[in-house]
Amino acid sequence: MMTDLILVLVVLTNLKLLGSSRLGASIRVVAAQGVMLGLLPVLAHVHELSLHFAALAVGTVALKGVVFPWLLFRALREAEVTREVEPYVAYITSILIGLAALAASFWLGGRLPVSTVEPSSLLVPSALFSILAGLFLIVARKRAVNQVLGFLVLENGIYTFGVGIVAETPFLVELGVLLDAFVAVFVMGIAVYHINREFDHIEVDRLDRLKG
């Protein structure tokens, strides 16, 4: 019941990201999504709660809910970009594409032969939808910060998938994935700052004409 609620909220936050026009609001939404997903394995395995799940939840919540937003807000502040998202695809069109992707995810999720230990039938569809929404955010937005956010949503989708498919992911693997995401966001935050200092803007559609 609680996992269903969290997964529906994750779907809604993805749709909100597709329709959001403010970078700051988008960063907060991704942070909220990270916190909810950090709590997911604890709620899914509430009867057999071990130190493993508790440590993982604490780590995920701290990293995705506190460290990533802090890094991204810092990049946003220092790069002094305007706070608009500047989409290639308009917000309303993005939401409609998102709904189509959601329908496709549910259609596909019902047919994939991955009936392992998943605690909720919503898990696979919402994981697929997070992956698709993250990919779409990377492709359809101009701002570099927004592409970091798209990457994080994509990672959240894969994480959701992992919670459902594998009962006992090795602790080391999960920590490794978290560390990878951390390094990626860290590097991208620094890269955004430096690109901005050299070129006065961080619009990726102009990066094909780089001359130092």
Partner: protein, 303 residues
Amino acid sequence: MNALSFIPLLLALILSPLLFGVINRTKALFAGRRGQPLLQTYYDLWKLLRKGAVYSRTTTWIFRAGPMVGLAAAWVAATLVPLGNFPALIAFPADFLLFAGLLGLMRFFTVVAALDTGSSFEGMGASREVFFSALTEPALFVVLATLARQTGQLSLSTMFEPVSGADWLHGGPVLALVIIALMIVLLAENARIPVDDPNTHLELTMIHEVMVLDHSGPDFAFILYAAALKLWMLGALVLSMVLPSSGGNPWLSLALVSGGMFGLAVVIGVIESVMARLRLLVVPQLLIGAGAVATVALILTLR
């Protein structure tokens, strides 16, 4: 059909103007004013009915027919709407299509009457009304489709039966999404604050008020009364989703629905007090958002 079936209709006809009074009182309380009397809408209606109507020489019969058709459509639609535990006076399969159609007819005649005056401001209001309603109607239909799918029923009276605790445990997310979408539809359809400010009288930003500027006397009373009925009907649909079942006791149901309805009016008043009206460019995003929320609910029921 028994005597209880007349209760939703009678309550709607008698109490609907009181909703505006409760909303205004709530807003006044937030603003630190005493506010107008609770029965102010009744006084307004009585005053307007005793006045004469003024008609411009450029208008035709369409302008005179607009308010009457609007009120007639609202009356007929009120017979189809259930209220909490009380079923509607008239219920048949797919009556929600007739309900949406009657609301559409009411809007169509308000719009053509506004265009009939030839005023450019009323044309602007009419254009916005038609644009926004083209976005709220899909949301309303997706909500109705979700409920039809969830309950397996095709009539408003059975689709909107009171929900129990077991329903919330079983399909809580769907119910919550449907209630959110329906609430946005209610605010948009009745020109309440995130979409339109009922108090503003600046023609450049108004939607509903600007279309009825040229109506006077009894015609304007009809429009006011029809607007109150529309708010009551959509409110009754939202309320029927929220209220618990009363277990067949008519007096308890009566207390629940009248208390719930004025609780809903207080909620609308609070929303209007704490929120600003959205920019006109952002309103379509809100309405598409309502449609998206309803679609998520529909997809959740379809799986």
